[in-house]
Amino acid sequence: MTVFYLGAALFLLATILLGLIRVLRGPGSGDRMLAAQLFGTTGVTILLLLSLTLETPALVDVALVFALLAVVAAVAFVRQHGLPEPSGTPIHQRHGQKKEPDDDR
């Protein structure tokens, strides 16, 4: 059985490397982000299969953490403009800075 799990994990690793073509070529940054999201899911699956191959149940926790945090990168990508610029720093006040751009989007 472990040979089968390992074969499946190897196959999934191959799909990740194939997916890299989309990351390299992908015209839009949205495509790249999607590819990264797919890699996250495939990574979770590989970890689950490896947890059985290497008999280390801790890998299920690693998969759990990956599944949990896959959304952070996606949200960071979409809502990037969430954070305006830090304003009054000790010394820059006199550099005539405009009030930081309010978030129009």
């Binding site: 000790p90 010394i91 820059h92």
Partner: protein, 494 residues
């Protein structure tokens, strides 16, 4: 406490580490009181180090058991982290506490704005704690972590003024620091891979000449040379030191760079001792001569007070490189090098603090236009001159004794038959001459005739601390015998 001083020493070492960390944490938790914690803490720390040195001298009559090793958490060497105190680290600890206290008192006057005080003091106390731990640590990975503590806080302080020059200088300094730390860490990993041990003393017992040791030596020395801005890798020093606040430049030039040099010395006297071949010594010596010439030329050319002093750091560190070949021939020469580094750190710190006071008074630090300020502020110019004299190495100052001993070692190499020694002797003497050049360039406008202009009011701290430190730097000459005696208490040194 009836126990003998030797038994009290481990407790004192752990206490010093705990004290410096506690001060930094307190300043981080109560930023509004950070400057008071910093001020009183600096005096407390200096007193603790003096007490420790008294205990150390009392405890270490014979050099063999002088290296006090403290097992942190009670775990012995291969497993736990060991603190290591011997003559070499004791001397530099005293230097760090003297320069640290002076800089802290100076900063009380320099950083007077309530908002900035709250950020400056925690960073500065972390830097000071990092330096203390760097000097006390005896474990390779722990040295890496202490270097990171020192690097990050130093970069944050360089970027403190927030101007374009300061932030770009800090960025360059950060990139080079992380690169240096990673190359140092790779060296540690290679040694750990070969010997499975991280403690320096155990490593020294196990290292023999092999590909891993050579590669680890190259990586660790290159990483530390990056951090100490030794000649071929000094590109970051002038912009970072030139644009940092004055107390930060003083500490950077005095302590942080000397700390990295201390590590190079510790490694090449310990684990990498068998690797030091004469050819390598001559190569390092030639780098030193090049540093002397390049640094002095830049200092003589530069228009700003602070960048003159920054370039002079590169030049004076050329001496430390020249000393490498001397150490290979005359095994006692390493004590002279350390003594020179101590005197240079004291003098450089006081010159930077004096330059900071003058810059505060004048609002700029272009020498050509500072005539009036220099003429009016006699006390600061005297401090600048006195420390400059010690940099030059005129008689009766610490610098003179250091250079005299270096010359002695240089002559010894000539007698030992290697002709290259002549180059070292000429370089050492010439270096003093060049130093005279740029020190006098800084002080010369004071002697021209012209109006006096006291400029901005200066707080008493900023007025008297540079003078005090300059006097200590000059007086270091008389403490020569005591320092050299402390240095002899380093076991395992050639």
């Amino acid at each position: 406490m009836s126990e003998t001083p030797a038994a009290m020493l481990p407790l004192a070492i752990s206490g010093l580490v705990a004290l410096s960390l506690a001060l930094a944490i307190l300043a981080t938790i109560w930023p509004r009181q950070a400057h008071r914690i910093g001020g009183y803490g600096a005096v407390l720390m200096a007193a603790a180090v003096v007490a420790l040195s008294a205990l150390f001298l009392a405890a270490g009559p014979e050099p063999e058991n002088a290296a006090t090793r403290v097992a942190l958490g009670g775990w012995e060497a291969p497993l736990g982290v060991m603190l290591h105190l011997d003559g070499l680290s004791m001397t530099l600890l005293v230097l760090t506490s003297v320069v640290g206290m002076a800089t802290s008192l100076y900063s009380l006057g320099y950083v007077h704005d309530p908002i900035e005080r709250r950020q400056f003091w925690p960073l500065w106390l972390w830097l000071w704690a990092g330096l203390n731990m760097l000097l006390l640590s005896g474990d390779a990975f722990n040295l890496y972590i202490s270097l990171e503590v020192v690097s990050l806080s130093a970069v944050a302080l360089v970027a403190f003024t927030g101007t374009a020059a300061a932030v770009s200088g800090a960025m360059r300094y950060l990139l080079i620091n992380i690169l240096g730390s990673l190359s140092f860490l790779m060296g540690v990993v290679l040694l750990f891979g070969e010997h499975g041990v991280l403690d320096l003393v155990l490593l020294e017992a196990r290292t023999e000449i092999g590909p891993t040791e050579r590669m680890a030596a190259v990586l660790m020395t290159a990483g530390l040379m990056l951090k100490a801005a030794l000649f071929p890798l000094h590109v970051w020093l002038a912009p970072a030191h030139g644009s940092a606040p004055a107390p930060v430049s003083a500490v950077l030039s005095g302590l942080v760079v000397t700390g990295s040099f201390y590590l190079i010395l510790r490694l090449w006297m310990g684990p990498f001792a068998p690797l030091a071949t004469p050819a390598f010594g001559i190569l390092v010596g030639l780098l030193g001569v090049a540093a002397l010439i390049w640094g002095s030329a830049q200092a003589l050319r530069s228009g700003r007070l602070k960048s003159i002093v920054a370039y002079s750091t590169v030049a004076q560190f050329g001496y430390l490189l020249i000393a490498f070949p001397l150490m290979l021939v005359d095994s006692e020469a390493w004590k002279v090098v350390v003594f020179f580094a101590v005197v240079h750190a004291l003098a450089k710190a006081s010159v930077f603090l004096a330059a900071g006071t003058l810059q505060h008074a004048a609002g700029h630090d272009r020498i050509a236009e500072m005539g009036g300020i220099l003429r009016a502020r006699g006390r600061t110019v005297f401090a600048l001159g006195l420390a400059g004299v010690s940099l030059m190495g005129l008689p009766f100052t610490g610098g003179f004794i250091a250079k005299y001993l270096l010359l002695e070692a240089g002559l010894a190499t000539i007698l030992a038959g290697s002709l290259i020694g002549v180059l070292w002797v000429i370089a050492i003497a010439g270096g003093g001459l060049l130093a005279a050049g740029y020190v006098l360039r800084m002080v010369a406008p004071a002697f021209h005739r012209g109006p006096r202009d006291a400029g901005e009011a200066v707080s008493p701290w900023m007025d008297w601390v540079p003078l005090g430190l300059a006097v200590v730097a000059a007086a270091a000459g008389f403490a020569g015998t005591l320092t050299l005696h402390t240095l002899t208490l380093t076991p395992g040194a050639p």
